[in-house]
Symmetry: C2
Subunit: 348 residues, 2 copies
Amino acid sequence: AGGGLAATLAFPSVLAASKPDWMAEPISGYEGVKGDDIKARMEAMIMQVQADFCRALEQEEADGSVGSAPVKFKVDRWIRKEGGGGITCVMQEGEVFEKAGVNISVVHGHLPPAAVAQMRARGKQMGEGVLPFTALGISSVIHPRNPMIPTIHFNYRYFEVQEPNGECQWWFGGGTDLTPYYLDENDVRHFHGTLKKACDKHNAKLYPKFKAWCDDYFNVTHRGERRGVGGIFFDDFDEPNQEKAFEFVTSCANSVVPSYVPLVKKHKKDGYGYAERQWQLLRRGRYVEFNLIYDRGTKFGLYTPGARYESILMSLPLTARWEYMHAPEPGSKEAKLTEILKNPKDWI
Amino acid sequence: AGGGLAATLAFPSVLAASKPDWMAEPISGYEGVKGDDIKARMEAMIMQVQADFCRALEQEEADGSVGSAPVKFKVDRWIRKEGGGGITCVMQEGEVFEKAGVNISVVHGHLPPAAVAQMRARGKQMGEGVLPFTALGISSVIHPRNPMIPTIHFNYRYFEVQEPNGECQWWFGGGTDLTPYYLDENDVRHFHGTLKKACDKHNAKLYPKFKAWCDDYFNVTHRGERRGVGGIFFDDFDEPNQEKAFEFVTSCANSVVPSYVPLVKKHKKDGYGYAERQWQLLRRGRYVEFNLIYDRGTKFGLYTPGARYESILMSLPLTARWEYMHAPEPGSKEAKLTEILKNPKDWI
């Protein structure tokens, strides 16, 4: 498929021979992601992560299904009239995965004033006027059917804004976090351990900082509970330089499969009953509360003109439940999880 | 129980003989709601509306149950440490009502700066500094089990702010609106007709204005759909004077039972199947989206320090569902409802 030496060096495993086996053609086209430019490399990286993760989940679904035709990801490649587009992969009503979404978006446009205000509010210096921007990212939420398998969420993104003075501001953001319904401490240690290893390759200070940031961010404030047992979360990341920052983000994104798929394998045949299912549905209600009330990405998405809301809201579970004044029995497994959500701890 | 001539004239049917048969003791006490003061009269009015509505629903539940002990409202009277409190009545997992909440709150405190900013944003002139306020209201959402019975929501409230210059600003707000899962035009005409009659007693201009306001307000913007088939909605209402405005609000609040209970009676034994239930759950997902993303009352509530979130979130359904890219079959009953939600119409 060509691409020359530069592209071959940049993605030896991916572009060397022929078209890579991604879920769809990249929004910028196969040729468009071959350059040395950071945007091209980021797009190729998230395409590969999407393909790796979706295929690993499809494999788990196939191994867990009794039917002859296991559910697979439905792939929607969509173009945004205002610029850019995305590739949304959703697997729904599987035997292992009740709803799994892995979305890529590549958006060019002009920042709406509300978005500029939000960025300034968190300390960004931004020029006045209408600011052209590009946002590239992968975002995913997996809701398994078995309550013994945790839900995972991850998001890795690159953001670039053209300033009126001709300068370009850029930064990375992202994170991976885990939301169990029942606490298996070995699972949580495996998960955090995998993320820590990915971070430590770059700088041993990053994991503790981004672990704490994650606990702060995924806070269902009105309930005084974290959404789950955390992971890592970061934004405005640009250190020590663009090349190293990209390597760090790539390393985090590549740690998603090894952090999570072993937990799916381990628990997908666990037994559970009506009570465990009801608790899972209630916890999913809290997940919905966080995503719709507090999550910055969801808000930014829904308020962006021409937003593809189906891709943003694919993060919501297939089913959820709200009971008035539900409280777990003292001493129960449900109470044990709740205790950890109210008082996040260090796992490593 | 005493109270004297003034109270007897103000609430002849309620306080004449003994303690009224409300769901609990009012937050301001039985003596505290006997005065001529607007706050006392508003509190007594909403206590009565809560009792009338809860008892009417319990009656429907009892008539619709095959079991020997029909579900009844659980009554929680709660005190807010920062001032005031409330009476939350919830009936859950009934045979007719899957989740029904009717909440009263009587809150004294100081307006948080975010609330002042929100009020200024909608045109209120407010002084600087920490502003003492009182908010009294009734709020209710009823989620029936049978998808042929619509969901109803209503809220009637009185708000008072003490300005630094010694003046007192006051206004009423509220509304009643209907969210069917299947469109029965006779139901919608009965519902709107009952509200119109309640409005017309005061001023024939009010129903058309508040009907349009309702369609504007209950807008799930990202989907381009209204939440339901509307009703009435108003805020900052203070005309022509406090006495007349209170009479208007009382008339609206008293129209809740006759607008809705006949629809419950009419449909509670209708047949339905799996497909209708699934559609109801999907529509409830949209209900959750509106309440958590856009509803001003929910936001104001959850961001108020010391908010009793269980009373605010009782509006959420027991169960809800989100499917990626769900679209009703063209020409189906589900498509017919969706069409109306995208293009609200006049019913009278």
